[in-house]
Structure formats: C-alpha cells, structure tokens
Symmetry: C2
Subunit: 507 residues, 2 copies
C-alpha cells in the first residue's frame, strides 16, 4: 500500500499543480513526536533571551523570503497579493511581539511568598512561576495560510512559552506549509535551536494520531466546529487528557440601531459589504448576521448592501460547505435571498455571494450558525424584541453595535456581553490587531471561552504553574531568586514592576 | 415514586443519625439553575467593593457559628476536632483572602491599548478585562467538608469572580452542608446579595444534571478520578461544552537521597508517618509513594516508619475503595506488606493502615495509582535507575525531595518538574497554605494541569476575557476608563501599579 499523496491545487482552476509530500506515516509521526519531546527538555535549558532572539530570527527569515512566500501563497490559496502581503506583515510582526513578551517576563507571573506567620499558622517559602507545558500540536487554518498556520500565532506563542511545536499542515496550502516550515527550520537551526523544535506533518490520519500522542501536551486549532469536536473526542479518549484550544465557528452579529440606520445607513452598507466580501468572506470574524430595524431606513440600508462581487473560495471542501449551508438556509421558513452575485465561469472554487433576509424573531428557532463564505443574513427586528433576539444567539468571537451619539445602549450592550469575546462600537469585526488588550475568543462555539488565540496573552495557553516550596536558591529558576528583580513580580502579595520595564512597551 | 432520602451517617458506627433532605428533583434543579442565571445578571450590576464586603460577611458568619459547625462536622465526618477547627480557620481565612484579591483588582488583568499606528497599520482603541463566566457548579469533597465543600475555595473564588454558585453537597456530610449553606445564605441575604447567589443540591442524579444544565458556565470538582471522568463525559455531550476544573488523583512521590537516608532516616520516618496518617490518610497530598534507596540506611528508615495507628475513614464507599485498592496492590508482583495496623473492632468505617514495599523499577509496569487512605508504598531504588523511575510516574499535585546540603540534585529536580505542580524540598506535601505563590494542581491525573484550586490565582478559572473596541467611555466598565487608576493595569504595553496598592498585600 502506498502512502496517500499530498497535492497542491490551484483554487482558481481546481487543477492539481504539484505533488508536495506524502501523508505522514505512523512511524514518521512517532519520530516527529519523539524528537519534539527530546527537544522540549533541551529547550528548557535555554533562557528567555535565547527564545526572544529565536523569535526575532524567525521573523527576519520570513521577511527575507517575502517574495517567495507571497507568490506561492497567491498561487495556492487564491487570496489576493495585497491580502497575503498584509498577512505576512502581520505574521512577522506577531513573532516580534512575542519576542518582546518573552523579554519583558511579566507573562511568567513570577510570585514569591517568603516564609512567615499567617492566620492559618506558619507558612513555608513558596515561589510560583509559569512553565511550558510540553510539545504543542498546531492545526493550521485554511483561511490564514500564514497568520494562523505554520508560522502563525499558535506556533509563535508556543515557542515563546518554551514549547516545541508539531504543525499539522492544512491540505489547502501544503506547498506553502512546506516552504515556510523549511524557512523556519533553517533559521531555528542557525539560531542554535534543537533540530526538532518545529515539526511538520501531513494528512488527516496523522492529525488524529498527533492529538493522541503521549508527547503532546496541548492542542491549538483553528477550523470548523465539526473538525474541532472530532479532535476533542479523540483527546477525551487519551489516558491523559490535554487542553484543546479551538477557534471554531462564529456568527459575529452586528446590530444597527434605528437612529444609526436613519443617519448613516448607506455608509454602514458600504462598510458591511467590504467586511463581508474581503477574502471571499472566509474570515472567522466575518459579520454573518446583521440585525437591522424594520422600517424605511432599514429597507434603504438593505438595498444599498445588495450588490456584491463574486468570490473564489480556498478549496473544494469549503466551496461544497458553502453551497450546502446555503441550500439549508434556503429551507428556513421566511428566509429570502435578496441579492445574489454572478458565479463566474470556470472550474475553480468560485461561488456567488449572497445577501439573505429574515425576521429576527425567527432566528432562535432556525438555529442559524456560521456560513463560511461571502454570505450574510440581514434579520429585521423591532425594538421590543431586540434583547430576546440577542439572548437567543450562540456565542461569537465578536458582537458589534452601530448607534448614534447620545442613544441609550445600556440595555443592548449588557445583553451582548455574554455572547462575545470582543464588543465593537461603530466598526466592523474583520481585522484583528495584535496587542496586549486584544481578545480573539468567545463563548462556545466561537472558542472554549477562556483564552485568546491572538495577542500576547495567548501564551498562557501553553503554560502551567509550578510552585517551589522551601527550595534552596541554587535549584530555583533564575526568575524566582530574590536577587533577580528585572521582571514584574508579586512578592509577599505586592506587585513590583522594575524600573527597567517601565518604558514604552509592546502595544 | 418517592424521592431518594439523603441521610447523615456517623462514620464511627456506620449508623444513620438523621434524614437531612431529599434528593433534588429535576424540577427543583431547574429552579435552582434558573435562579442562579437570574442572579448572575443582578450580581454583575454590583461592584467589586460589594463583593469584597460580601466575602468578609460570609467569613464572619462562619466564625460566629464556629462551635455549631465544628461539632456537627466531628459527628458527621469522624475527623478530629482540632482538624476541623483548623479547617474552619482556613476556610474563613481564604474567604477573606479573596476579599482582598477582589479589592486589589490585579486579577482583572485590566489592559488598555489606545488607538495608534502599529507595524500592522492603524489599530483601534482596545480595552480588555476579565469578566465572570456565569453560574458555577461546585462539587464538594468528601475529605474537606469545609475548605473544599460548600464554603470552600471553589465557592469563594467563584463568588469573588462575580459568579453565582450551585453546590452539589457531598453525601458524606449532607447535614454539615445544609447547616453551612444556611449560614452563608443568611449572611449573603443580609449583605444584600440576590437570593440565588449560593444554591445547594443533593444526590448523584442532580449532580449529573447540574453539569449538563445550560445555565452552568464552569465546574469545580474535587473527588475521584472515576467521578471526574464521568462528569467530563457528561460535559462533552453538552451542546456547549464548558470548562471542567477537576482535582482528581495524586500519588505525591517523595524521594529520599542516599545521603538524607543516612543522615536523618529516623526523623524522616517520623515526619512521613505524621504526613501519611493525618486525617486517616484521606488528603489529596498524602505521600502515596516514597522512593528510598537500597541499603542499610534505607532499611532502617523503613523499619522506623513501620508502626502506624489505626484510622476511621469518612464513609463506606471510601472504606470499600481503600480495601479494594489494597487487595489489588497485594497482587502486584514483588509487592510486600511490611507493616499493618490493627483494625479496631466495631461497625464504623475503620481500616488498618499499611506500609508496603516493592522495587522501584517495577513501578511503571505495575501502573501504581493513588490509594485513598492510610497506605503508602515504599519503593526501593538504586541511583542508576532513579531518573527512569521518575519518568515513568503519573502526574501529581506534589513531588518532594529530601537531600543533604551540597548534594547534586540537578538531574533529579528537572526529572520531577514535569510530574508535579508543586516541588517540595525537605518537607512533607500535606498542608497547603493559602497565598499568592501557592499552586495546587498538576499534570493529569492530578488536575487538568493549567489551574490551581487553592490560592488567589484560582479565581482565573471562573473568568473570561472580553475586549471592548472603540467603546464610548460611558459603556466601559469603570476599571477600563482612562480616569480609573486605582488598580494594577497594563496601559499601552506598560504595567502600572498604583501607589495605593503598593503596600503590604495579601500573602
């Protein structure tokens, strides 16, 4: 029996362009995981300064090969050159942000309680630090071949934490995965990192075995709800379950108040169409539901949003999923297609964008979920039913409200809070900047709620606390020694920020 | 069909003393959860100062009823009066610690990134805060009827976070659960908290339905590995999975070096016996495995540890579990009982403490796990095999090493690090103080690794991040407004600790 071949496809034609690899065999996976486990112990010997430099070297190496990366990405994903240029800029930037995070050291939550008396009696010397969990499995996303794939945020946050990574390449961009993995591996080797610090595997079976491998300590995943739940079931069957950090499905409701619809319905419609159709609607924060008031202002807004360009999707599975979900939506009682783009000719994965409308009060019964691609549902509401409608929505990465200055949103905003990880005001949810205050996560099914997959605090996913009790100074990590004062620490209950980090930080 | 009766049993005789309640019916559970969901919204309107005062009022109320609580606890659990006096002191103290944590506000991780230019382009104003997840289900533990039950750390950390709590009373101390729940509810009501802030349910079926109820946002559990896995399976079947924070099983290995065995084997043996037999060995941090070197010094240590007093266990199920596990251990090839206490006469749940020995090199094959109760296994090792033996151990809450000053432990300590949440030097793992640097958690099966169930940072389990993007000041939580500077915050990347909290804090 020969191993399954991994091929690179051109989504604009649907044609196979090249054979990239063979699916990772059971033996090869074993070797990759064994290597990652070994490198974990070796990586643990290196200090934070080494990891900061490593991350900067990885960033530089990607920047050096920008032209190759972007060209192959355009060919293999059908995403536009400006989009992939921007995505690479983001990917390089977030690697450098994590280098700064590692340097600053606040993420370690270093804590020292000296021995002393307490109302519970005498307490021993306790010192707590976050340490890396171990090798991390990262599942690359279809829709972000760089920023959420081989060189993406999961990989960089895991490396920043001190965890080796094994990436499952997405079958939508295997050639790009191999190219970038080669660039990162060479740069890591030149920086003196152990050989197995970044591993790469191909194929669905290898992915399933990866999350069950005893060497793997945590999983970062960006993909579909079904795919995520399948991996969760496999993890649940492990003798030692591990954390699964999935970024799954999100409806991203956008609410327009009556006053906002009246004051700036057309401008809103233009912004919505841009947000909705960018990258073929294949963004986790695409606005998939727009709550528009009944009445003439709302009608005008819907009319203005009607005309939309066509879009080529990333692969056959996503195209089929889009058409399948669209067909299901057409069966929802009361749902109506108000605008539909032309599907361009050709054999690629192009689809027609669609604007649908329905009554907001029917949403909960219809159990509307994400339709991945360039479709949005405009649900028409009356003021009296708005809070009930919101309460019936599933969890999302984002929720947005467009209102006019002076309008009272003190009922709507608290209703939205339990439904999303990010609340936007008068903007659109696509575009997720990388900074300390970012949160890209949300109540299920958006993610498993408590952690972000974007921004500095995403490093917490791949760390666990350890406390040293009554330890001699020579066995303590440097950051927990009394004399080490160059990182933020909590000492005997007091937060202490060193003067040296009290300067312009990473924003 | 009549509802199952919940009875209070005297573990010293095994006799039923009183009927305490009936098992919570499906309808009653529905009402408790509905109420908790309603109170969640109401509790969210209150500020941190309110929650701090509430926690202090709960602490005072328990202190006021100390005599009643301790007397009923002694009668219902068979634990000694000094033990329960100490446990209540701890329980009251940790409620007050959480009040201080809420007051300080650092746990909110308040973060502000003002709008500005970045290498990714212009970024919007982003502000991040941790907010409560929603109502929390808490499963009381058999072995800590106060500190890890109705008024325990899970309850207090959830209330501190702003989450209402529904406690599943442990059937080993239902009368104490009802008494303490009444005390807490009255105090909460007097403090102005909504009526359903702390709920109580009884019975196994109610517990199973509780973790599946849509109103419940997270589960805190202290109990057996089997019980925890059963709840995890129920949670996995939910339409919206929620986090499960389980404190399950722990072997808590203790390693004695050759030099330490020679220098202070007898003192070590005395300390071990105290740690092992306190509370009938029914402590999650009981040393269940002691690695002792071959040779005369190790032999003398084992002899010194031999004589142990008898112990009454908490309930019939724990007694049966202890005897069942002991019977299984007797079938492990090479395992030998070297000391066994007398089982006292009578109908209570008393058992004979046991000291077992085996070869350390056989541990991995024997797959030794926790034996809940007054048993420990002394495994004899040779220097050359020690690291391999450690590598084969399951995860634990703690790992301890006893060595002599100047001994090189630079190989053993890194081997222990992946196996435990707390590393102790020259002490015993029982006794878990409540302070910022504490970590009570560990690699599976000790817990699900990333969070603690003791100490201030346990509050993180019941919080999720939310980011406000481009929000008008009037909709922002107070802690995220530019003008609010009285808590630690990260602003434009810089950690800023207000002068007002730069004082003696909670240790």
């Amino acid at each position: 029996m020969t191993a399954e071949t991994i091929v690179s496809i051109d989504p604009s034609t649907g044609a196979e362009v090249e054979e990239v690899a063979t699916a990772t065999t059971r033996e090869e996976l074993e070797e990759v995981c064994r290597s990652a486990a070994e490198e974990f112990a070796e990586l643990a010997q290196r200090d934070r300064a080494f990891r900061g430099e490593l991350l900067r070297d990885l960033a530089d190496a990607m920047e050096d090969r920008r032209a190759d990366i972007v060209s192959l990405g355009v060919r293999e994903t059908g995403l536009t050159r400006p989009r992939l240029e921007g995505e690479l800029t983001r990917t390089v930037y977030q690697a450098r942000v994590f280098a700064d995070v590692v340097d600053e050291g606040g993420y370690l939550e270093a804590t020292i309680d000296h021995a002393g008396d307490t109302p519970m009696g005498p307490a021993p010397d306790l010192r707590r630090l976050l340490v890396p969990t171990g090798p991390v499995a990262v599942f690359g996303a279809s829709n972000f071949p760089l920023a959420f794939s081989v060189p993406g945020g999961d990989t960089m946050s895991a490396l920043a934490a001190g965890c080796p990574v094994v990436v499952k390449a997405h079958d939508s961009h295997p050639a790009l995965s191999v190219l970038v993995h080669g660039i990162l591996s060479a740069a890591a080797g030149a920086a003196g990192a152990p050989a197995g610090t970044i591993g790469l595997v191909h194929g669905r079976e290898a992915g399933a075995r990866l999350v069950q491998h005893p060497a793997i300590s945590a999983v970062g995943f960006t993909g579909s709800l079904d795919g995520g739940r399948a991996l969760m079931r496999l993890i649940e069957q492990r003798p030692t379950p591990i954390p699964f950090f999935g970024e799954l499905a999100s409806l991203n409701p956008v609410i327009v108040t009556q006053a906002a619809a009246a004051a700036r319905g057309e401008a809103f419609a233009a912004g919505l169409v841009t947000s909705l159709t960018g990258s073929g609607g294949q963004l986790c924060t695409k606005p998939g539901l727009v709550l528009v008031p009944h009445g003439p202002a709302g009608d005008a807004l819907v009319d203005a949003a009607g005309a939309q360009p066509a879009a080529a999707l990333l692969n056959a599975r996503i195209r089929d999923g889009y058409e399948g979900t669209s067909a299901e939506l057409r069966c929802v009682p009361g749902l109506r297609v108000v605008a539909e783009g032309e599907k361009p000719a050709g054999d690629g994965f192009a689809v027609a964008p669609r604007l649908l409308t329905m009554q907001a009060r029917d949403l909960a019964r219809a159990q509307i979920g994400e339709c991945f691609g360039p479709t949005t549902i405009v649900a028409r509401y009356t003021e009296a039913e708005l809070v009930d409608v919101i309460t019936g929505l599933p969890g999302s990465l984002t929720a947005t409200i467009h209102s006019e200055p002076g309008e009272d949103v003190n009922v709507v905003v608290p209703a939205l809070l339990p439904k999303a990880g990010r609340l936007l005001f008068d903007g659109f949810p696509t575009g997720v900047s990388v900074s300390w205050a970012q949160h890209h996560g949300g109540p299920w099914p958006a993610t498993n709620t408590q952690h972000t997959s974007v921004g500095p605090t995403s490093i917490r996913r791949f760390l666990r606390p350890v406390t040293w009790q009554s330890a001699p100074a020579e066995v303590l990590p440097r950051e927990l020694q009394d004399t080490y004062t160059s990182i933020p620490r909590r000492v005997d209950g007091r937060l202490i920020v060193p003067a040296s980090t009290d300067q312009e930080g990473t924003r």
